[in-house]
Amino acid sequence: MSYKISEEGNVATVHLDGEIDMDVTEKAKEVIMPLIEAGKEVHLNLKEVQYMDSSGISVLIESHQKAAELGTKVILKEISKSVLKVIMMAKLEQILIIE
């Protein structure tokens, strides 16, 4: 997994790339959580994520819940087809914020 962060005002956009599994979830959290804790609205661009398993989905849930707790939000953008399929299998498309 690789990532790129850009910030504009209070919005931080994180472009994730590659495969997100148990082996990289800590790294993903280390990238996303500080932005949420800083009160940023986080846009997660998942266009280049070819694979995500339950560990990756857990990161999305934790990020969403942490943001809600701190009064901000995490918005999932340009979700790849394969990741969207897993989100839908987990029946989270109505819970996570997807644009």
Partner: protein, 136 residues
């Protein structure tokens, strides 16, 4: 068409990508799997992840796990073997899907994707034996 492939991997989260690639290579052998390949790869990877996370509690080990993929008489069968803590099948419950929390999703995914999931603890040379099947 029949398939009979197997490979052993170190019990480590770093092996998950290799396991996915092995499963992808095997399932690429027949067009029949093209529409379900990604799902089955996910199920295999989730099962392997459960071995790392639960059978070994995420602790470093020199052990390996074995993944066997066979296809015969329209049945795809995945056998996963490990030497971790014995699995107590009654304790393995998928997360209630309306309970939104991190964790417990892997077993739910496996159940959604595969037709049958069987745990055995009597495999010779191994401790746990998980059998996943899907009919085509």
């Amino acid at each position: 068409m029949t398939i009979d492939d197997h490979k052993e991997f170190p019990v480590d989260s770093a092996s998950l990508k290799e396991i996915r690639n092995f499963a992808r290579e095997v399932l690429a052998k027949d067009e029949m799997f093209s529409s379900t390949k990604d799902d089955v790869v996910l199920a295999i990877a989730e099962a392997a992840q459960n071995i790392v996370k639960h059978a070994y509690s995420g602790q470093p080990t020199g052990d390996t796990m074995r993944v066997e993929i066979t296809f015969k008489d329209n049945e795809l069968k995945i056998d996963l073997y490990d030497k971790g803590k014995p699995v107590i099948p009654e304790n393995i419950k998928p997360r209630q899907i309306d309970d939104v929390k991190p964790g417990g999703l892997g077993t739910f995914f496996i159940g959604q994707i595969m037709d049958e999931v069987i745990f055995k603890t009597s495999a010779s040379d191994w401790v746990n034996h998980l059998i996943l099947t899907k009919n085509y």
